[in-house]
Amino acid sequence: MSGLLNWVLWFPVIGMIAVLCVPGTKVQTIRYVTLVTTAITFLLTLVLYASFDTEVGGMQPHLSFKMPWISQFHINYSLGIDGISLPMIILTGLLFLICTLSSWTVEKNVKAYFALMLMLQSSVFGVFMALDFFLFYVYWEVMLLPMFFLIGIWGGENREYAAIKFFLYTFFGSIIMLVGIIALYYATGKGEDSFNILALQGGQFTEMTIHLFGTDWSFERLFFWAMFLGFAIKVPVFPFHTWLPHAHVQAPTAVSVILAGVLLKMGTYGFLRIAFPIFPSAAVEYAHVLAILGCISVIYGAFCAMAQNDVKKLIAYSSVSHMGFVMLGMSAMTTQGMNGAVLQMFNHGTSTAMMFLMVGVLYERSHHRWIVKPDGTKGYGGLYTHMPKYSIIFIIGMFASLGLPGLSGFISEALIFLGIFNKFTTITVIAVLGLLVGAAYLLWMFKRMFFGEVSDEVKEYDDMNKREIGYMIPLCVAVIFFGIYPMPVLNIMRASVGELLTLLAKYN
């Protein structure tokens, strides 16, 4: 059983090697190899789910895997999952499978594209599974490379700028995090567990101080902020969000989906796995800062989204807004808030993936993404009349995204608000405004694109084909099913989040 995580982690790499072995001209073979790989990987993640014990709060003992790696530094190749990472892993498996299908139309250098996608998948799994800080960091960074190339090669017009910006920005955050990792290594006395994320948890650094620039600083506070920087850029939290619109607008559809659906979650996952449990007292102490930043992200992202004329940019900003909710939920540090945050990570993954996929479907037909073109004319019009199937799926995704009850987004947002109201009432009152503006920009966009008479341009488009509908259906089902009954997901995370909260409660 303990090898299962290894299988999930390395199977995409096996697929990648297989893809690399196929001659570049056999495009169809490459696609099918990738499809099979991602499908099997997804099934493996489902096996993980099947063998998951929901009553265990910590890491699943029967799934953990540990092997020495760099013995002098006590660095281990150690993997494990708990209720916080499992939903992310399943989401990753699902989204990559869907992205493979949606990338069927990629024509440029197919071999490299799919090889990089599979590499990306493996590294994302690595981030969510790593229990060793060093391993975590390696995967965290390795993930940047395929991402950089995927945006840079298959992206839009301004792709180079976006790719470099994404790369540098995240690298900046993570290198500061690296300093934090190293500081932790020494703070624990270079012992057996100095890179062991689990052993570092529990607030052992609360009393520690370091001498810097002539005064004593609290070790915990200082390095909480170092970690914060690394993760906040990834989330992204205002004011570190500006790489996101660029990256999203330029990235090809599948990459946008992965970026918004999975990669952003790595930031909040980092908070939950690393920043909070390792520095619990600082986390509790600065919860209000996180809440304020989250709140600003919610509002700011929403308002910025409203001003966008590019659909993808609009959805990118909406991601900023929705990830702000996750920050809010985490900063609440209550049962419902924290669970809501993790659930929101999952739900945002599905709903925003839908939105990006839908935009991609449209883009393949129209080759532009303007709601209102720069010359002032309507970019689309009458899509509702002309593409009914497309419209219905779009509506599901959109309403899930704006938090319509009965679809997935609502429950997580409601839980987050229920969690945070008692703690930061004013912030809640402001952040709730995000729901309002969130509905406004999405529906306004919808109105401008879908209502009205069918424009000549739109008349040329075909409605969604079977492949496209096929890969949207799992997401639709997820969005609706978890909107009505979220307990399957909540059940997984409940115990793990509970453990985290028990830890944090000591410092509250």
Partner: protein, 725 residues
């Protein structure tokens, strides 16, 4: 009778399943599945009848409710406790609501099969109708505010879809967007209210909220400086304001006419707007506790009056009805505000019936004439006799003519308002509330009959329209709903006393006043026996059933000083007299203006020109919201923010770092190029040049500048040793 989930849930599940089946397979079904929708809602109606009958006959005049809970979300772990229990909650009010919703909705469904016939999206319409109705039923059945909120929002979505049903039209898009967004403002407030209540009670079940209120749990909690009870009550009431189209969020409702007429009927009568009032009624104890009843009363009164004045100048038949809806909703809210709990609810029911009928009749007219403009109609009573009769009865009801239902309910509200404003010992300024109410009643009678006269009486103004209109025959799905609904506008169904005051000796009092007896404001004092622990549903994974009387019957005045029987009586007599006079004078005025033509309406228009302009522009609410708040405010702000974000913040603060590095690089290059090459060579002072000046050697070169740097730095280091040692 024992209630289990299987006897109650089908009320909701039937239409919901109809929605699901129709959504996926509707096209493949015969007749696009309309029979499924109609049948489902009719089945619900039958189930409801059973429950209603049970309340009426088995447990008559006792207070009674059924409460069933199942666990939805359970996040408990260790000593952390968090659960969301959803449940079904049925009491007398729910039973009546259910009956009204299913009954009216059944008839509207039936009517739709006629009205929508031949529409290219016929099947889709029924999908939405089913979802809409099921959402409303779910809302009514919900035992807590969160579940209510879920269905509340789903209804918002349905109204969005139905208003935007003709999505080829740009205006339909605007209207649906406006409807959704405006109500969403209220929704967001409602969510805040839920959060506020949750933070005190620990959940949002009605019974728990009542218990918490009775135990004074709300005391001492504040939110941003104001008491939490007020905050929550206000927020919840804002939900009503949004959903029930009260001032200042009333703007969406007139635009909602973009949808097909049956959907307007559904929105305006049975579902959407009723939900708002229903919420306020449910949360009545909280409103009292939070002391927001004055706000409610004023909002209601202002809405009732303003909407009525706007309705005066409308020429679109549906617009008249739309504004009359807003106005009537204002009465309901006014009723809640003045403590006329019973009457407000009664008005909700009576209004649902006659407004549904009015809309269906209007639909019948529109479908026949293919126009909505009243000036193009006229004399239609010969061609559409059944419609005419149905509409006439309803108009009589809405105008508040005795023996009709509208009179019974509205009169009680006005009477209570009068009592509240005049006799309840408050500041006399509050007298303006009943005055607005009476004014509105007068206007209602007037504009409703204006509509009647313009549409059905007189000579046909547009021959073409008239010719085009077919003679109406009895059609099962067209006229039957009209007839049933019209028949139900008789007051006798709701109250034995036609005036709402006296009694007819034939029936027992209880039978006559069933409404009054069944519907009573939750008397929160009776929850004192409940302790907080009992609400921690520690073990609620299995169903629990409570069947226990909690409410005591109480007269309809939960508001102010219910002991003042004499004052109440006095106020009611006066109120009844006044409203009868006012209603008839309104009708007469319309009669003189539009039938007799004693005076041209233009006379009034010219006389009150500024007012006329105000009303035709709907008091500039829309212009203000869209023109100024949205276009001048929000959009400009957004654009500025977005520019700030990408154009300034991103460019300067983020990309700027790359620039800074470039600048440093360029500066050093400039230093090499300009300082070293030009300035040194030209002989103006640098370190290099100093040596040159001293030694009368005029020129220096680059490699030598390197030397200079070396030496200068070296000297600097050595000099700096002074400070170290």
């Amino acid at each position: 009778m024992e209630y289990t989930i299987s006897t109650i849930a089908p009320i909701f599940i039937f239409p919901f399943m109809a929605f699901v089946v129709n959504a996926f397979f509707g096209r493949k079904l015969p007749r696009q599945g309309d029979w499924l929708s109609v049948g489902a809602i009719f089945a619900s109606f039958l189930y409801t009848l059973r429950i209603f009958g049970d309340f009426i006959f088995n447990k008559f005049s006792t207070d009674y409710y059924v409460h069933k809970v199942f666990n939805w979300i359970d996040l408990s772990y260790g000593d952390q406790f968090f659960k969301i229990d959803l449940g079904i909650y049925i009491d007398n009010m729910t039973a009546i609501m259910l009956l009204m919703v299913t009954g009216v909705a059944t008839l509207i469904h039936l009517f739709s099969t006629w009205y929508m016939k031949g529409d290219e999206r016929y099947g889709k319409f029924f999908v939405y109708l089913s979802l809409f109705t099921s959402a409303m039923l779910g809302l009514v059945l919900a035992d807590n505010l969160l579940l209510l909120f879920v269905f509340w929002e789903i209804m918002g979505f349905c109204s969005y879809s139905l208003i935007g049903f003709y999505y080829e039209k740009e205006e339909a898009g605007n209207a649906s967007l406006k409807a959704f967004m405006t109500t969403r403002i209220g929704d967001v407030f409602l969510l805040l209210g839920i959060l506020g209540i949750w933070s005190v009670v620990g959940n949002v079940n009605y019974v728990d909220i009542y218990a918490a209120i009775s135990q004074g749990l709300f005391e001492g909690h504040t939110v941003m400086g104001i008491s939490l009870a007020s905050f929550a009550a206000f927020c919840v009431f804002m939900g009503t304001v949004g959903k029930s189209a009260q001032v200042p969020l009333q703007v969406w409702l007139p635009d909602a006419m973009m949808g097909p007429t049956p959907c307007s009927a559904l929105i305006h009568a049975a579902t959407m707007v009723a939900a708002g009032v229903y919420l306020s009624l449910r949360m009545y104890p909280l409103m009292e506790l939070g002391e927001v009843t004055h706000i409610i009363a004023y909002v209601g009164a202002i809405t009732a009056f303003l909407a009525a004045t706007i309705a005066l100048v409308q020429t679109d038949i549906k617009a008249v009805l739309a504004f009359s809806t807003i106005s009537q909703l204002g009465y309901m809210v006014l009723g809640i505000g003045v403590g006329s709990y019973n009457a407000a609810f009664m008005h909700l029911i009576t209004h649902a019936v006659f407004k549904a009928c009015l809309f269906l009749s209007a639909g019948s007219v529109i479908h026949s004439t293919h126009t909505q403009e009243m000036p193009e109609m006229g004399g239609l009573r010969k061609k559409l006799p059944i419609t005419f009769l149905a509409m006439l009865l309803c108009t009589l009801a809405i105008a508040g003519i005795p023996i009709f239902s509208g009179f019974v309910s509205k009169d009680r509200i006005l009477g209570d308002a009068l009592y509240w404003g005049l006799y309840a010992g408050q500041n006399k300024v509050h007298f303006i509330v009943p005055m607005l109410g009476f004014g509105g009643a007068f206007l209602t009678a007037f504009y409703m009959f204006r509509m009647m006269f313009l549409t059905f009486f007189g000579e046909p103004k547009d021959k073409e329209v008239y010719e085009h209109c077919h003679h109406e025959h009895f059609e099962f799905n067209r006229t039957l709903p009209l007839i049933i609904l019209a028949a139900l506008t008789l007051g006798v169904f709701y109250s034995g006393s036609l005036t709402g005051q006296g009694e007819i000796k034939i029936f027992p009092r209880a039978a006559q006043e069933w409404f009054k007896i069944l519907v009573a404001a939750p008397e929160v004092k009776n929850f004192e026996s409940y302790t907080k622990e009992k609400f921690d549903f520690a073990d609620t994974r299995e169903e629990k059933v409570w069947e226990k009387a909690h409410y005591h019957h109480q007269s309809g005045y939960a508001g102010v000083n219910p002991d003042n029987e004499e004052g109440i009586h006095h106020a009611h007599i006066n109120g009844a007299v006044a409203s009868v006079i006012i209603a008839f004078s309104g009708v007469l005025l319309a009669f003189f203006l539009y039938i007799r033509r004693l005076m041209s309406p233009d006379f009034f228009v010219n006389m009150l020109k500024p007012l006329h302009r105000l009303t035709t522009h709907r008091y500039y609410f829309d212009d203000f919201y869209i023109g100024i708040l949205l276009k001048k405010g929000l959009l400009v702000f957004n654009n500025a923010l977005a520019f700030l974000d990408m154009g300034i913040y991103d460019r300067i603060a983020i990309d700027g770092w790359a620039k800074v590095n470039n600048w440093i690089y360029r500066a050093s290059k400039w230093f090499d190029d300009v300082i070293v090459d030009s300035i040194a060579v030209d002989g103006t002072g640098t370190a290099v040049n100093l040596f040159n000046l001293v030694l009368r050697v005029l020129q220096s070169g680059k490699i030598q500048f390197y030397f200079v740097v070396l030496i200068v730095v070296l000297s600097g280091y050595i000099w700096s040793l002074n400070f170290i040692s």
